[in-house]
């Protein structure tokens, strides 16, 4: 039995502690907003926050989440978090998604990045690219991701 704090709620799950957070979320808890893309921390589709840090949940065992807070796309974009909300709204406004499969991970990376920005600082184009470089989008939505991250940053300034 492992205790997990996910999106502010406590869960107890009966899975091996070596099980990745991704599969605990998806298969055990039915929270499917977090996506499986590569299983090897190469594509970023599975990105969630662990104590506010963007991590790849496909290679992070639930043992590593003991005593920490997991935040997933479901909570980041439910309107309760100002940064997540700004990112979500920018994603819709700029019509970023095509197939949409990687976008949960993209949004979680963008949200962690903007949360770490010093107050009032606008990220440069190079900083945005660097922050988002770990997330693959095979549809090629990168042009709109750049615009949406910059726009969300402006909203939050």
């Amino acid at each position: 039995m492992s205790a997990l704090n996910i999106n502010g709620r406590e869960y107890t799950v009966d899975v091996d502690p070596s099980t990745p957070i991704l599969w605990t979320l998806r298969d055990t808890l039915g929270m499917t907003g977090t996506k499986f893309g590569c299983g090897a921390a190469l594509c970023g589709a599975c990105t969630v926050h662990l104590d506010g840090q963007a991590i790849r949940s496909c290679v992070t065992p639930i043992a590593a989440a003991q005593g920490k807070k997991i935040t997933t796309i479901e909570a980041a974009t439910d309107g309760s978090d100002p940064v997540g909300t700004a990112v979500h709204e920018a994603w819709v406004k700029h019509d970023v998604a095509q197939c949409g499969y990687c976008q949960s991970g993209q949004i979680m990376s963008a949200t962690a990045f903007l949360k770490a920005q010093p107050k009032g600082k606008q990220p440069t184009a190079a900083e945005i690219d660097s922050a988002m470089a770990g997330n693959i989008c095979r549809c090629g939505t990168y042009a709109r991701i750049r615009v949406a991250v910059a726009d969300a940053a402006k909203t939050l300034a």
């Binding site: 298969d27 893309g37 190469l42 095509q98 197939c99 990687c102 976008q103 042009a143």
Partner: protein, 746 residues
């Protein structure tokens, strides 16, 4: 894909496929079962009825309209005015879940803010209206369904008008509509939601008048995707997200070499893994064999699969080696073979300029972000499938064959897919058939639970069904003015269509999906010899199919002729297009104007590159700006000129061009290749089959040529001209042409 297939050939091919093993099974759904299936939602309150139902209710005659012309199957209007439009295609990123409803809503005169979308199922209504089969491919969704969805919307609107006319006892011709409301005399108003139920009882008009495109207020206007919110909040469900009660997940061990069978299996460790329910041998396509591990979830199944001790019988299978294969292709290119074009090559020997070139293109994986998956629930005499597929028609037939069922015993639920690029439209239905084999084996082993068969990324990258490897060789003779006197060309690559249900399209030993994009529209005297070797690597169409390699060959060689004869590459192309290719001219001119090609000074070390190509009935021209950074080609800016006739959703066209351009770039950059050694695919995940990241993305501006002609598709045409435009820019910097993808800088 399939752009050259004649409308009647696919159904005939499928019919043949069905009859082959289902001689006694009906191949089309009887009308009554159509009604029942539509009842999955189509007969909910406020839905439009099937014509037959309405006419039966009215004592009318049998329906003259086909299922795909019936508003009932495509539009539901709820009492609160919400209009739900059913799409007859797979939504896998291309935006049809927005653009098809836009078309219908335009003629329905709906309130766009109340329009929703949902996926169609395997019902006959959702077949491609031209091809007569369930299919998403060949950039055909808008092209083939534009008139269909307009007429559906117009019919539904006419029925709402008739209902209002009856309610107010006035002539329907005196009524008008405005964004979801019928307006009548003396300020009368009724919302579509109020009228829907009464409209449902009325007959469906066969003939309707469509709007003058000048009056369009939805079509042609930049519209945010209907699914934008769901896809920006983790709420969009994909096939992989299926979660049925008691569902098991299967992960399959595939042989390391295509077609191999099991020599020995020790599954004791796998069976001992927590959560594992079964370990089952399953047949794979191409006569191969695999081992399916079924567990409560993916992670346990994968761990157990990795714990299998497997030995494979590799003695009897061809073990492909890419390096040796290239030598064989070179040898073949020099041999006589079937001719696609047969111009006189005599002038070649005496031409002032002679150019010889060889091009090499590797295998390519599609690597859609959502790994392949299919969920199957077997019951007595019935199967239900949930899968993101481009080809539910073929998959249903293939599933029926595997499961010994009749096609009407297969319920196909098309799921929104996380990309596909061709990989989800497989003539053999490979990953759907595999899921059926697994479910069948599970049931035989006493497991009646629904089974989701899920591929790991490694299974996907190593799993074949690649864009075929190709070798091209050209010998071109031209004069001082750049006039081509003779162009002798050989093309070597596996045939995609041969041996599939589409094999009838292979004529005289030539697969049109390999040669599409060659020569035209340039008025060149070409002799094109084609070789289709058999190789033990499963292959498939990959976004823009033949044009992935033919556009590169044509557009870099055209550029080289221009460079050799000291002509501007734009002016040279325009000269060749003359008056014969107005859409090519317009697209290229737009890209030239918007990029300020040749007018704007470029930073030191940067160069312009140009290419234009028609595929799937649309033309895309790129003017790019590129440079070399430490010897590495870098693409900085792309300006697109697009000719796709009338545009339904400009935002969607822009997105498709941005995405296709990036996928075109993926062919150029290091890591964009699948290679084999001793039969084994050498790449396995995004570490070694790399795809572009945000840091590779150039600035890109998309411009569309205005047109009122019926729309052509844009899912694929943005891909082909990107790589040659980039290569042409680099070649103008180095003076050396690039003739291999990914780019090899020597």
């Amino acid at each position: 894909m399939l752009n050259e297939i004649f409308p009647d050939e696919i159904p005939r091919a499928l019919q043949h496929m069905l009859e082959h093993d289902q001689a006694d099974g009906p191949t089309t759904l009887p009308r009554r079962s159509f009604l029942k299936i539509v009842g999955i939602g189509g007969l909910a309150l406020g839905a439009f009825p099937h014509l037959a139902l309405a006419q039966e209710a009215n004592g009318g005659a049998a329906a003259p309209l086909k299922p795909n012309q019936q508003p009932s199957a495509f539009v539901q209007i709820a009492p609160n005015g919400e209009v739900t439009v059913t799409i007859n295609r797979l939504e896998f990123g291309q935006g049809v879940q927005t653009s098809l409803p836009m078309i219908l809503a335009e003629e329905l005169d709906a309130d766009w803010s109340l329009v929703r979308a949902r996926n169609g199922n395997g019902d006959a209504a959702y077949q491609d209206p031209i091809f007569g089969v369930h299919l998403t491919g060949g950039s055909n969704s808008i092209k083939n369904s534009y008139t269909q969805y307009r007429e559906l919307g117009a019919r539904a609107r006419a029925m709402l008008l008739a209902a209002a006319a009856a309610r107010w006892n006035v002539d329907a011709n005196s009524l008008s509509t405005q964004a979801g409301t019928v307006l009548g005399p003396a300020g009368r108003k009724a919302s579509y939601g109020e009228l829907a139920e009464a409209a449902m009882a009325l007959p469906v008009p066969e003939k309707v008048t469509l709007k003058d495109p000048k009056e369009f207020r939805i079509i042609g206007h930049a519209t945010t995707r209907i699914d934008a919110k769901a896809k920006s909040s983790g709420q969009q469900d994909f096939g992989i997200d299926m979660h049925l009660p008691g569902q098991l997940t299967a992960v399959v061990a595939h042989p390391p070499v295509f077609g191999a069978r099991i020599a020995s299996l020790d599954d004791s460790a796998a069976r001992a893994t927590q959560g594992v329910k079964a370990v089952l041998r399953v047949p794979l396509d191409g006569g191969a064999e695999g081992v399916a591990v079924l567990a409560d979830g993916y992670w346990q199944a994968k761990l157990a699969r990795d714990a299998l001790k497997l030995e494979w019988d590799l003695a009897s299978v061809e073990k492909v080696d890419s390096e040796k294969q290239l030598l064989q292709y070179r040898e073949l290119a020099g041999q006589p073979g079937p001719l696609r074009f047969d111009a006189d090559m005599t002038p070649l020997a005496t031409a002032t300029h002679q150019l010889e070139a060889e091009f090499v293109f590797p295998y390519l994986a599609h690597a859609p972000m959502e790994p392949l998956n299919c969920t199957v629930q077997l019951n007595e005499g019935r199967a239900e499938l949930w899968v993101g597929t481009q080809f539910p028609g073929g998959d249903s037939a293939a599933a029926a064959k595997v499961l010994n069922l009749k096609p009407e015993q297969i319920q196909m639920n098309v799921q929104t897919a996380g990309g596909g690029f061709g990989r989800r439209g497989v003539p053999t239905g490979d990953f759907v058939v595999l899921a059926c084999e697994v479910a069948k084996a599970a049931r035989a082993a006493g497991l009646n639970a629904p089974v989701r068969t899920l591929w790991s990324r490694e299974d996907d990258i190593k799993g074949g069904y690649y864009r075929p490897m190709h070798l091209h060789r050209a010998r071109i003779g031209f004069d001082e003015s750049g006039k081509v006197l003779a162009w002798d060309h050989a093309l070597v690559g596996q045939s995609i269509l041969t041996g599939t249900v589409f094999g009838g399209r292979v004529k005289n030993g030539i697969d049109p999906t390999a040669t599409e994009g060659m020569r035209d529209p340039y008025p060149l005297p070409m002799r094109l010899t084609v070789h289709h070797p058999n190789v033990n690597v499963p292959i498939l169409w990959w976004r823009s199919v033949g044009s992935t390699h033919t556009a590169f060959v044509m557009e870099t060689l055209i550029d080289e002729i221009a460079r050799t004869t000291k002509q501007d590459p734009v002016a040279y192309r325009m000269k060749l297009f003359a008056d014969q290719s107005p859409r090519h001219r317009a697209a290229l001119q737009l890209a030239v104007d918007k990029s300020e090609y040749g007018k704007r000074p470029l930073p030191a070390g940067h160069a312009w590159g140009v290419a234009v190509h028609e595929s799937f009935s649309s033309v895309v021209a790129y003017v790019v700006q590129a440079s070399l950074e430490d010897g590495r080609p870098v693409l900085h800016q792309v300006t697109a000129g697009v000719h796709c006739n009338l545009v339904v959703n400009p935002r969607s066209v822009e997105a498709q061009v941005q995405g296709a351009a990036l996928m075109g770039l993926s062919m150029c950059l290091p890591g964009g290749a699948i290679t084999l050694k001793d039969g084994v695919v050498q790449q396995s995940n995004f570490a070694d089959f790399s795809v572009p990241r945000i840091t590779d993305m150039p600035e890109i501006a998309v411009h569309i040529v205005p047109s009122a002609e019926p729309p052509t598709g844009m899912g694929e045409p943005g891909l082909p001209p990107l790589a040659p435009a980039f290569a042409n820019a680099i070649a103008s910097l180095t003076g050396k042409p690039l003739r291999e993808l990914p780019f090899k800088m020597t």
